[in-house]
């Protein structure tokens, strides 16, 4: 993932960013997290924290509304199952719609970052 630097200060700065951008990114990460097979919410949270260094999850709880919204949009499917420690847990898996969204979402995310990066690296007000 492109964003890897991680301290609390950066996270606060991230909050100022467009909430849509933030949410869109989180949705993509969730889709990615379940792209290898069904996972419950805690596992998804852990994975995102590991790969993103806690930057994208300000409070682990924010993951759940995002998950439920994806479920409502039928990008993920949920099923109750039994976890590794023998407890009832809600497992999410990628639907075919979700797989498609992950593909298109990832490529447009890269396009966006690339374009924004170019613009932010600009050194003069006039177009190159």
């Amino acid at each position: 993932m492109g964003i890897s630097c991680g301290n609390l200060h950066t996270a606060n700065t991230m909050e100022d960013l467009d909430i849509g951008l933030m949410r869109g990114t989180l949705d993509l990460l969730i889709l990615k997290a379940v792209s290898w097979g069904p996972r419950h919410g805690y596992a998804i949270a852990e994975w995102i924290e590991q790969v993103s260094g806690s930057v994208l999850l300000v409070g682990e709880g924010t993951l759940y509304p995002a998950l439920h919204r994806l479920e409502k949009q039928r990008l993920v499917e949920a099923e109750w199952g039994v976890s590794e420690n023998n407890r009832q847990a809600k497992f999410y898996r990628l639907s075919s719609d979700g797989r498609r969204r992950l593909r298109t979402g990832t490529s447009s995310w890269y396009d966006f970052v690339e374009a924004a990066g170019r613009a932010l690296k600009a050194t003069s007000p006039a177009p190159a």
Partner: protein, 930 residues
């Protein structure tokens, strides 16, 4: 990869049961999910060395705002849940509909019969509703119609009364008084009949008629200049009457035509406005076209043009209707001022009207006027639905027919319910299996009802076709020779009515069979293998319900048949009533000589000339003439003093009268009881004589001879020279009236419009054309209004009764067929069900005849049950027909007996086929079925 993500759901069935967990499931799921997360995190932190309490605190802290997350998740999940439920319902419905259509298509015969029954039942109701709506319910297409009020009798749309002033119709001076004197109306307009108009459209504006052009006869009406402004209507082209028009007689030769007439006659040509047409010889300029869809303020009588009242003397020369308080011919309609109620307007208008009538009455009339007004208060009523003659004339007939078709629909419902019931029995196993597999009863009922609704909707759609055709047929039947021009369209209201009716029908015939079909005892149903009727067979309630439905059908049919019998018998009596004259040998010609300018002695000479010419027409054996004539719709009345008779009340001196020609009674075939007929010597110079009818003779001269006594009318005295048997002159139902006849030539003035009575030696319809030709030959400018055989006129006068009788007969027959079908169905089903019983009976020695008798007896018991229930209902209900019956008692035994006989024969016929089939089954085979 994290190991925690590798867990897969082990048991998918657990999901199925979760679904049924009830309304709090969403909350529980969210709580459980969050709880799982906190516990997992706590455990991980404990593993990393924290003590449990601190670990839990930190886990909660890392989670963030728990209650906010929880409520957000719940909101999302609830929305999702609702969306899924909606989708499920739609899916259920789609599945049910698809399944129903497939099932119905598979049983084509069943579906076709049900659709036919429903189409007839619903269609008949829609057709009747179309007419009821057009005539009784719909308001005028004007804004705020509810603020309109009619003054006087709103049914006298074509009336003209000469004589003493009236309050139910207005003279022009009375209208002017009420218009100026009232305080409750923001506007008051008047409209009156224009009679037949001779209109020439293709001509130069000078008014001279181009030779060879035929006169047209559009329907026109005189209206006051504020007609359109009171109704708040605007011209769709050109303008309506201006405020300064219609103030001075003859000053404003203008006319507004209806939108419909503009389309019909001028093909919607905008240059029609500004053209001049010649109406009865008077050129009028078309100044505008009325709004689309507006055909006037009279329901059932659409108008083509509206002419200012002040043009009446010009358009109808030789008639002075504008200044004479004795000529009542105007209908009044006003618009209430804001805040004024109909009751307030009534007392205001009545006071103004009474003052006007009293102020202008001669001294001795005032008492009579006040008495009249006390007996018949001035009518001020809501005018929202406009004026209508047909409304009052036909509402009773229409409601009778509406009741008849509602009965037919009920019978149809019972019939379809029975068919569905029989089929439900056949589907008993299917239902049992589906319920055993977990389908809810409600779900199955819903599915069966979907089928009913689809049947009803399809039946309703077909019914609309039936209605379209049916309502037109009804108008044709009702109008006799000319259909009633009622605007009977299938519009939004009719569609809504039909849709609702179809839905109600579906529930009516669908619900009970659906509930029955799904009330299955699973064990019984599943245990009995193979038989189609298994699972429902042997349940006593099932067949009893079918029998109940048949009994209900028989009862309803009986009701309809008794009513039909009464109306048909009444109709026959009307058709063959002895009217006291030679109805089969008479033709009546109506002539308007006034317009051609005849008056006084010239008119008398013309009449004599016409009689002489008629007598020379081959086939004519006698000719006379009269002012009002027979079945003409016009009538005269007067008060008189009778020598030797003292009146106890004013009404005792009232008689109907007619002025007639020589040999009048001989010509029309009336029976002279005493004295003589009018003769040629009863002329202008002869002594004034009169003939009275037997009703008048026995009323005035209870104890003695009428001949030679004297009558005084308006200070002229007449000697009675004859008494004639009562003649029903104006209507079969009219009943005897006191009637006096005078020689027309002895009257002060002769009418410009009169009738010729022509007696023939053969079919009177054969002389129609020669008579018309002979009349035209006398004077081509003479207007021959009509020449008709008397029986046609009589037929037209009872066309309403004939229509009701014909339509009710049709529906009565339909009901009979439906009831017979229902009975047949039940008997056939019973036969199949009891095959083994019959086999056993025959094996034990019963003869085929015994079995047949057994079945017939059962059919007969059902019929008797229906009759026993239906008879009292029929006797009560047919009382409502009293007003429409002619010489048929309210408790009409022949009709009742006939209905029962017809029903019994139909029942026997319906039961016979299954009964014979039952007896034909070979015993062995019958026994093997079990």
């Amino acid at each position: 990869m994290d190991s925690s993500s590798s867990g897969t759901p082990r048991d998918r069935r657990s999901r199925i049961f979760r679904l049924e967990d009830g309304p709090r499931r969403v909350e529980r799921d969210v709580d459980e999910e969050i709880d799982f997360h906190i516990q997992m995190r706590t455990r991980r932190l404990v593993d990393s060395g924290l003590d449990p309490a601190a670990a839990r605190a930190q886990a909660l802290q890392r989670f963030g705002d728990l209650s906010a997350v929880r409520s957000e998740c719940l909101t999302i999940d609830h929305e999702r849940e609702r969306a899924m439920q909606r989708a499920n319902h739609l899916e259920d419905l789609r599945q049910d509909a698809g399944y129903a259509v497939r099932t119905l298509l598979k049983n084509k015969g069943f579906t076709a019969i049900v659709l036919l029954i429903l189409a007839l039942g619903i269609g008949a109701n829609t057709a009747m509703f179309t007419l009821v709506d057009a005539l009784l319910l719909r308001t005028l297409p004007v804004s705020h119609a509810e603020r309109l009020v009619t003054i006087g009798d709103p049914t006298r749309t074509g009336s003209l009364s000469e004589g003493s002033p009236r309050a139910d119709l207005a003279s022009y001076p009375l209208y002017a008084d009420v218009r100026a004197g009232n305080h409750s109306l923001s506007g008051l307009y008047a409209s009156g009949r224009a009679g037949r108009l001779d209109v020439f459209i293709d001509h130069d504006s000078g008014g001279s008629v181009r030779s060879g052009t035929e006169a047209e006869h559009p329907r026109g009406r005189f209206v006051s200049g504020n007609f359109f402004s009171v109704l708040q209507l605007h011209a769709s082209l050109g303008r309506t009457f201006a405020a300064d028009e219609d103030l001075v007689p003859g000053d404003d030769p203008v006319v507004v035509i209806s939108h419909d007439y503009w389309q019909r006659r001028f093909a919607g040509d905008r240059s029609a406005v500004g053209r001049t047409i010649v109406v009865n010889g008077t050129p009028l300029t078309i100044i505008g076209v009325g709004p689309a869809g507006f055909t006037g303020d009279i329901v059932g009588q659409p108008y083509d043009m509206w002419i200012p009242l002040m043009m009446q003397p010009s358009v109808m020369p030789h008639t002075e209707w504008m200044d004479d308080r004795g000529i009542s011919w105007l209908m009044l309609m006003g618009r209430l001022k804001p805040g004024v109620s109909v009751a307030q307007a009534r007392s205001d208008v009545a006071a103004v009207m009474k003052r006007s009538l009293v102020d202008n009455a001669k001294g001795d009339q005032i008492g009579a006027i006040e008495r009249d007004l006390r007996d018949d208060p001035i009518r001020v009523e809501s005018g929202a639905r406009g004026f209508s003659y047909y409304r009052s004339a036909y509402s009773e007939s229409l409601l009778t027919l509406m009741a008849a078709v509602a009965l037919v629909l009920l019978i149809a419902c019972a019939n379809v319910a029975n068919l569905l019931l029989a089929r439900a029995s056949a589907r008993g196993r299917e239902m049992s299996v589906r319920m055993a597999l977990g389908a809810g009863r409600l779900r199955l009922v819903q599915q069966l009802l979907t089928e009913s609704v689809i049947l009803a909707v399809a039946g309703g759609a077909l019914g609309l076709l039936v209605a379209y055709w049916g309502s037109r047929t009804l108008l044709h039947l009702a109008g006799g020779s000319s259909p009633i021009p009622l605007d009977a369209q299938i519009d939004g209201r009719v569609l809504i009515f039909t849709a609702l009716l179809a839905l109600i029908t579906a529930i009516f015939f669908g619900l009970v069979p659906a509930l029955r079909a799904t009330r299955v005892e699973l064990a019984t149903a599943l245990r009995s293998q193979g038989r189609g009727v298994a699972g429902t067979q042997g349940r006593p309630g099932k067949l009893a319900l079918g029998k109940l439905l048949v009994i209900a059908q028989v009862a309803l049919s009986l009701l309809l048949l008794v009513g039909t019998g009464m109306l048909v018998r009444s109709m026959q009596k009307l058709q063959n009533a002895d009217l006291g004259m030679a109805r089969d040998r008479l033709a009546i010609a109506e002539v308007d000589a006034q317009r051609a300018g005849y008056d006084g002695p010239r008119l008398v000479a013309l009449i004599r000339d016409l009689v002489a010419r008629m007598e020379r027409v081959p086939g004519v054996t006698g000719v006379s003439y009269s002012e009002n004539g027979i079945f003409s719709g016009t009538e005269s009345g007067t008060t008189l003093q009778v020598e030797g008779y003292t009146a106890r009340a004013d009404s005792d001196t009232v008689v109907a009268y007619d002025d007639v020609g020589p040999a009048y009674f001989h010509t029309i075939g009336a029976h002279l009881m005493q004295g003589r007929d009018f003769e040629a010597r009863d002329n202008e110079t002869g002594p004034k004589v009169a003939v009275i009818n037997t009703t008048a003779a026995s009323f005035f001269f209870r104890d003695g001879d009428a001949i030679g006594r004297h009558l005084t009318v308006d200070s002229t005295t007449w000697e009675i020279v004859g008494v004639v048997a009562d003649v029903e002159e104006q209507g079969v139902r009219e009943g005897p009236q006191r009637r006096v006849y005078f020689p027309m030539v002895q009257m002060e003035r002769q009418p410009g419009r009169f009738k010729l009575e022509i007696h023939t030696n053969g079919d009177p319809s054969r002389i129609v054309v020669p008579v018309r030709r002979a009349l035209q030959a006398a004077d081509p400018s003479l207007v021959v209004l009509s020449v008709d055989p008397l029986n046609h006129l009589i037929g037209d006068s009872i066309s309403r009764d004939r229509m009701v009788a014909q339509v009710v007969t049709f529906f009565g027959a339909l009901a009979l067929v439906l009831a017979a079908l229902g009975l047949y169905g039940v008997m056939a089903y019973a036969t199949v069900r009891r095959t083994s019983e019959f086999g056993l009976r025959m094996a034990l020695g019963a003869q085929p005849g015994d079995v047949t008798r057994l079945m017939l007896r059962e059919a007969l018991i059902l019929t008797i049950g229906g009759v026993v229930i239906g008879l009292p209902v029929a006797i009560m209900a047919t009382r409502l027909l009293a007003g429409q019956l002619y010489e048929v008692a309210v408790l009409d035994v022949p009709s009742i007996v006939l209905a029962i006989i017809v029903l019994s024969i139909s029942a026997a016929a319906a039961g016979l086929l299954p009964a014979i089939r039952a007896a034909r089954v070979p015993p062995l085979e019958a026994l093997r079925v079990e």
